[in-house]
């Protein structure tokens, strides 16, 4: 169940912008439960290229329910084989190998709550936000949603019309503002602001978009540089860290620190099975586990998606990147095995 690939039929391919495409899937009745998703989750697409299996996670860009299908929205990444293939070659009727939804960056609507939900989206980072927005509008009707959406120019705005329609349909619940870093001079579209999201912009934004419901949550999904700017600006405005939820979309993951890892004896609790194996110096836990012939779940292999999450029970690791984990999870021992290198000669890790 946990690491299974299903062939799904593509039902529709929609051009969102010049570059971005939405790919919709038919989920057969017997797989409905397996493919149940929460807003913010991803699916993994597996391709074979030159005899090699490539797996990449893509965020589901719609909320479940109300007749909506499972869909992802993809922008071709210059050095992403999978995303380029999805945007150029995939047509309705094709089959794709898909792994069931996963991921922890989710929003679970609470119908008997009122919250203020802030979304700071950049580029294709709108995809998880879109699913969360749809879900919250429908299932958390007392909450107010403020969306600040950053793009280079107006013609790159994914879901522009869809967002406009939602704002019209839910006028008291949803407010969308755009910020463009390089607005075209000939565009008719006038954004709320031009330029980058700076501290001052956030300060101004928060004073104009005030929380009525005092349980405010802040979701940031954009490229790393934007996420860092927004997070810093929010904290500068007294927003407590535990109310900020961020996920990285596009852009590089920042400078990797030199790993000082040690060879280690790894005691695994692999879904209830006790296994011992060796981890070499400079080898990630994930790679050591796979080298031993096991098939742990994984997807992005860059610390973003959280598919490879496990619990560390003893010993210690160094994580190169951990965007997919909240601080509270790390405190409780969660690790991303694709990013973890042993720093003690013995450690035990549990996959569940």
């Amino acid at each position: 169940m946990r690491n299974v690939v299903y062939p799904l039929r593509v039902s529709e391919v929609i051009s969102e912008t010049k570059q971005a495409k939405t790919i919709r899937f038919d989920v057969p009745t017997e797989l409905i439960d397996e493919f149940h998703w929460r807003p913010g989750q991803h699916i993994t697409i597996e391709l074979e290229a030159n005899g090699e299996k490539l797996r990449r996670p893509f965020t589901i860009s719609a909320a479940q329910g109300n007749g909506r299908s499972l869909q992802i929205t993809v922008k071709p990444n210059p050095d992403g084989i999978v995303s380029k293939y999805l945007c150029s070659a995939v047509k309705a009727g094709h089959q794709l190998n898909v792994m069931p939804p996963f991921g922890g960056f989710t929003l679970v609507p609470r119908s008997d709550h009122q919250r203020t939900l802030y979304f700071f989206a950049g580029g294709s980072g709108i995809t998880p936000a879109m699913a969360m927005i749809e879900a919250a509008l429908e299932d958390e009707p007392r909450s107010k949603l403020y969306v600040l959406y950053a793009n280079r120019s107006a013609d790159g705005i994914i879901f522009k019309e869809h967002l406009e329609q939602l704002a019209e349909r839910y006028p008291s619940q949803l407010e969308v503002r755009h910020i463009l870093s390089k607005p075209s001079m000939w565009s008719m579209f006038s954004p709320w602001k031009s330029g980058r999201i700076s501290k001052d912009v956030i300060l101004e934004y928060l004073s104009e978009c005030r929380p009525i419901a005092q349980d405010a949550q802040y979701f940031i999904c954009g490229p790393d540089s934007m996420n860092n700017d927004v997070r810093g600006a929010l904290q500068n405005c007294d927003v407590p860290a535990d109310r900020i939820h961020a996920e990285s979309f596009g852009g590089d993951t920042g400078a990797q620190t030199e790993v000082t890892s040690v060879p280690a004896l790894l005691k695994l609790d692999y879904y209830g099975e006790a296994i011992e194996l060796e981890v070499a110096e400079g080898q990630s836990i994930m790679n050591a586990v796979r080298a031993a012939g096991l098939e742990p779940p994984y997807s992005c292999q860059s610390g973003i998606c959280g598919a490879c999450k496990a619990q560390i029970k003893s010993g210690a690791v160094h994580m190169q990147a951990r965007m997919a984990l909240e601080d509270a999870e790390v405190a409780k021992g969660a690790i991303l095995t694709c990013q973890s290198y042993a720093t003690t000669p013995e450690l035990s890790v549990s996959f569940r």
């Binding site: 009122q114 005092q214 007294d238």
Partner: protein, 386 residues
């Protein structure tokens, strides 16, 4: 004490007179429910704060630069000194007046004078302010002493459909609509008067006759009392022309009237076709309470108000009056002010509770059912002993 067939009294006489009852109510009711802390517009700027009493707890609310409100128990973690007084504006930190311990707006203790010398090894992170809950509902600020209080939507959600169909946050407060009364009566007597449908046509025969008391719809929804009555026919017929103040938009023609709920504990609302007010009862002693009234009206120009008042003056001269024709300065029953009529009735009842000859009389089947129901709600909360 005789008990009538209709179940009166639910609560004993002591519930209205004894200090012990009063103290238990403070602990079991007023310290365990959402308390009205003011209007949304009372705090609009980062750093601004107010402090309020919620049962046994003094709580302050402060706005951060994210414009989100935080609520904390107003007690210094050192020796318990009250940190902030009444209302005001602070910068980025809150400093205790006693020994200058300083907290940030998240309640974290950030500085202790002479820390190294006087508190070697102190862990500042264990001495943050105790959190409370705060939220905004219907344009009002609410606090709850418990950091993990059930959500305000949970608390008021069921009664919401029984309230006026407009958003009070869109109205503006008027100075003339403010008053504060110290009433020599137990808070429950004031509540009972507020929800007693039987007295409306009698005590207020000449002051509240613009509503049709024969068509009241009311019931308890959980601990909260919901109440609606339509405009009287003579008024409804030409309400647009003769309303003394501009009408509040959003009320369908066939629901024109007054929503007068009593939220638990002791927070009355008066939501009418042309004004919206809070009637906030704060118990101060077994036989004394403070009632604070704040009013909002439609967000219209002064001219619109003047025009409405002028256009309707002669109409209301004809229809309103006083119960008795005595001297309004001496006799509240001759004042033409329903509030004074009510206060008079409440204080007289409280006084009579002292008489050895006092005995509960029969309670009316319909009009006074809410009175009995409210006593049952109070009785239920008083049983819970956490």
């Amino acid at each position: 004490m005789s008990t009538h067939s209709n179940g009166m009294p639910v609560l004993p006489k002591e519930a209205y007179t004894s200090q012990e009852w009063f103290d238990r109510e403070q602990a079991l009711i007023f310290s365990k429910t959402w308390a009205l802390a003011g209007f949304q517009e009372d705090i609009t700027e980062p750093g601004q704060y107010i402090s309020v009493q919620a049962g046994l707890n003094n709580i302050f609310i402060v706005m951060g630069r994210d414009h989100r409100l935080r609520a904390f128990h107003n007690i210094c973690r050192h020796r318990g000194t009250q940190l902030l007084r009444a209302e005001g504006k602070t910068q980025k930190a809150i400093t205790c007046p006693y020994h200058d311990w300083t907290y940030d707006l998240e309640g974290n203790l950030i500085s202790v004078p002479e820390q190294e010398k006087e508190f070697p090894g102190i862990d500042l992170s264990c001495n943050g302010l105790k959190k409370a809950s705060v939220d905004i509902w219907r344009g009002m600020l609410w606090v709850h002493p418990d950091e993990n209080a059930p959500s305000i939507v949970n608390w008021f959600g069921d009664v919401e459909p029984y309230l006026a169909p407009y958003d009070p946050a869109g109205l503006i407060e008027t100075e003339e609509g403010y008053s504060k009364h110290e009433i020599k009566a137990n808070w429950k007597i004031i509540v009972e008067n507020y929800i007693d449908g039987y007295h409306l046509a009698h005590l207020h025969s000449h002051t509240l006759n613009m509503y049709d008391h024969s068509k009241i719809e009311c019931e308890f929804i959980g601990p909260h009392f919901a109440f609606w009555e339509p405009l009287a026919d003579f008024y409804a017929a030409e309400v647009e022309k003769v309303t003394p103040m501009p009408l509040i938009p959003g009320i369908p023609k066939d629901r024109m009237g007054a929503w007068v709920p009593m939220l638990f504990p002791g927070i009355g609302l008066g939501e009418s076709e042309n004004s919206w007010s809070t009637f906030h009862i704060t118990p101060v002693a077994p036989d004394r309470s403070i009632v604070e009234i704040r009013t909002r009206v439609a967000n219209e120009s002064t001219w619109a108000f003047t025009k409405a008042a002028m256009a309707s003056a002669s109409f209301w001269d004809k229809h309103l009056g006083t119960k008795y024709n005595g001297d309004p300065n001496v006799d509240p029953m001759s004042s033409g002010d329903f509030m004074l009529e009510d206060i008079y009735a409440c204080e007289q009842q409280q006084k009579s509770l002292q008489s050895p000859y006092f005995e509960h009389g029969p309670s009316s089947k319909h009009g006074e059912k809410p009175v009995r129901d409210h006593q049952s709600v109070v009785a239920k909360w008083m049983e819970s002993d956490q």
